[in-house]
Subunit: 393 residues, 2 copies
């Protein structure tokens, strides 16, 4: 994919996220990187690129490729019964994450890859060009390392740029001793790093892992060169967001019950707040107010799908953007920034999430003249074409 | 379209809405009507249909075609500035409905038809097989009758079954005397009936038309053989739902501020309650509780898109079904019933919204094994194939 050249013409409105919107614009990608953006009238001659491929945006709005910084993409099985019971207001303990662990463990490598590949195709068609993928549906060292390997196999065979996170501390497996399991997770961290994981993550929340337990796992990650991220304050306030600030996490994610003090600590420590509005919708929890708390504290915001079978079956960043605006109260500009630049910062990428010169040539031709129309048009087709590294997909 | 024969095989799960779900089912459409449904193993020999076309549902769930009983489909122009200002929390009086009246009046017949045709294609691809379309963006007798004519032109040239509603009483046009305008609307009712309108509707709400004004228009409609429907209790309680019960409306629509007493009157009078969840989302009004009030009172529920450029830019019944479940608290079964049988009842059609023998051969092959997956999978492709009158589209 690297090395591609492309001229995108006919852009009615260009959002680079590195400056003001540009009307009637063009983008030049050279060797897979943005080489020039601006008004189409100012496009320089390109005598050294005689056979330059062109893509006509047809007057549409073009934005940087969406970055999805929180997914659990590799899984098997369904959580349909749990979902139907929740909507009918009936009690149901189907096992939650453990249900998916069972189905994922029972599936073959090829089955898991085929399922994830289909989800990646949806994500790509909806404009996602970079994605973080967590393990966490294995819960033994071997099963977790298998999931990381499958992420890397997927990374090599399709266009979305993938990076993996070791989430052995997703939940304590059924029948396991809690302290022993935590020791095993910590002992697995070096193996995960050796297997190519870029990040370590912990589900730090009421009924899952405590702040002290999470700190141990994060410290092991840091000691092994992994970046840190944290599931924080989804179910209840436990101080997880404060731990994210203390340990220098790149992001704290969920944050439905974040306190204003912890949000200020996150802002001071440069921890990006990853919002997952489809979780609030799927769980019918009504937790829409935390975006305002984080914004007030000056936390940089990101958006993600949290793609998983139980609490957010969604591959679509445009759907997430819509919900962030219409339910969390983000402005259109805030939401697009959070889905591109903010999300790239949550993954510590300086060259993604924007179209400044030198950035990855990842962009999305919206099926709209203006980015606000993607938000306003409910249930419509959001994206016309996705480009990764200068290659139209 | 009438007269088509079709055998739909390979149905993993069939919802007829005329009985219990059927696994491993088939549907026979003969002369455009459902002739047989049941377990595929019980399919009779069909020696008189030697060249019967077949459609393989590939194991998917099949449901009756969605009926959308409330749209303002024929319009021109954008309400983008109003939308962006609303999301940014800024005051904005862009003129609302009157903005769209201006843009629609300025557009040619062919422009309006082309715009509406594209929206109908989206609706059809999302499973809508019947749709009500209101005038109301003309607001002079000629301009309103033009919109009704355009609905009938669209009805003749594409598969979705359309019926039209005269909504001259949408808003008092800028610069017009209120009483004179109402007289004009009443005087136009016979012309609308002669032009082929099936229904009359009034936006009866605070700041729009009063209950007494609405009663005059509805009575004129009834006197001219039109069926009655009413925009009721969207902005505030004004007693409109009670008027719908009093006058025998087929439906009262919106109902965000309906009272329990009025809901009981609706139930007693057989008025269907049409819920428009995308309006609550688009306006960020937070009005999600009225479905429960209506259910409690025993009102039959329907779902609709309210497709319009300002307060619900949406052609997708699956999107509406999702939101009805996840924000209004309908169960999966309630929402599918409301989008099919309930919506057909809101339009007083006994032979749509279900797949009992004799019903219209209108059905949807979902892109899912189970109807609950359409609700749970956010931002995914909802529909694989839509069939109207036995013709796959």
């Amino acid at each position: 994919m690297s090395g591609a050249n492309l001229l995108v013409r006919g852009i009615g409105r260009l959002l680079t996220m590195a400056g003001e919107p540009v009307p009637d614009a063009a983008v030049l990608v050279r060797d897979g990187r943005v080489a020039w953006t601006g008004s189409a009238a100012d496009l320089p001659d390109l005598p050294d690129l005689p056979d330059l491929p062109e893509l006509d945006a047809g007057g549409a709005c073009v934005v940087p490729g969406f970055v999805d910084p929180h997914t659990h993409l590799v899984f098997a099985g369904s959580r349909r019964e749990e979902f139907v019971a929740r909507l009918a207001g009936l009690p149901y303990d189907g096992g939650g994450i453990r249900t998916t662990v069972g189905a994922t463990t029972a599936a073959s490598d090829d089955e898991l890859v085929a399922l994830a590949r289909a989800r990646l195709a949806v994500a790509l068609a909806h404009g996602t060009t970079s994605m973080e993928v967590k393990s966490g549906y294995g819960l033994t060292p071997d099963a977790e390392l298998r999931l990381l390997r499958l992420v890397h196999r997927l990374a090599a065979e399709q266009p979305v740029r993938l990076e993996s996170t070791y989430l052995g501390a997703h939940v304590v497996p059924a029948g396991r001793n809690r302290a022993e399991y935590l020791d095993e997770v910590v002992a697995t961290v070096p193996l995960a790093a050796a297997a190519g994981a870029r990040w370590v993550d912990v589900f730090c929340d009421r009924g899952v892992f405590t702040v002290d337990e999470a700190r141990r796992v994060l410290q092991a990650g840091a000691a092994n060169g992994l970046g840190l991220r944290l599931h924080a304050e989804e179910i209840a306030w436990t101080g997880a967001a404060g731990l994210a600030a203390e340990t220098g996490c790149a992001s704290a994610d969920h944050l439905e019950h974040v306190s204003a003090d912890d949000a200020r600590a996150m802002a001071a420590a440069g921890v990006v707040g990853v919002l997952l509005p489809t979780v609030t919708l799927s769980l019918r929890s009504g937790a829409w107010g935390h975006a305002a708390v984080l914004r007030e504290a000056g936390v940089e915001l990101a958006l993600a799908t949290d793609c998983n079978p139980g609490t957010s079956w969604c591959e679509s960043m445009p759907y997430v953007i819509q919900l962030a605006c219409l339910q969390m109260g983000l402005s259109v500009a805030e939401a697009f920034r959070a889905a591109t630049l903010g999300a790239a910062h949550a993954l510590r990428h300086a060259d993604r999430g924007h179209l400044g010169v030198g950035a990855c040539g990842d962009l999305v031709v919206l099926d709209a003249e203006h980015e606000a129309d993607l938000v306003a048009h409910l249930g419509g087709r959001p994206v016309r074409r996705t480009v990764v590294g200068g290659v139209p997909t």
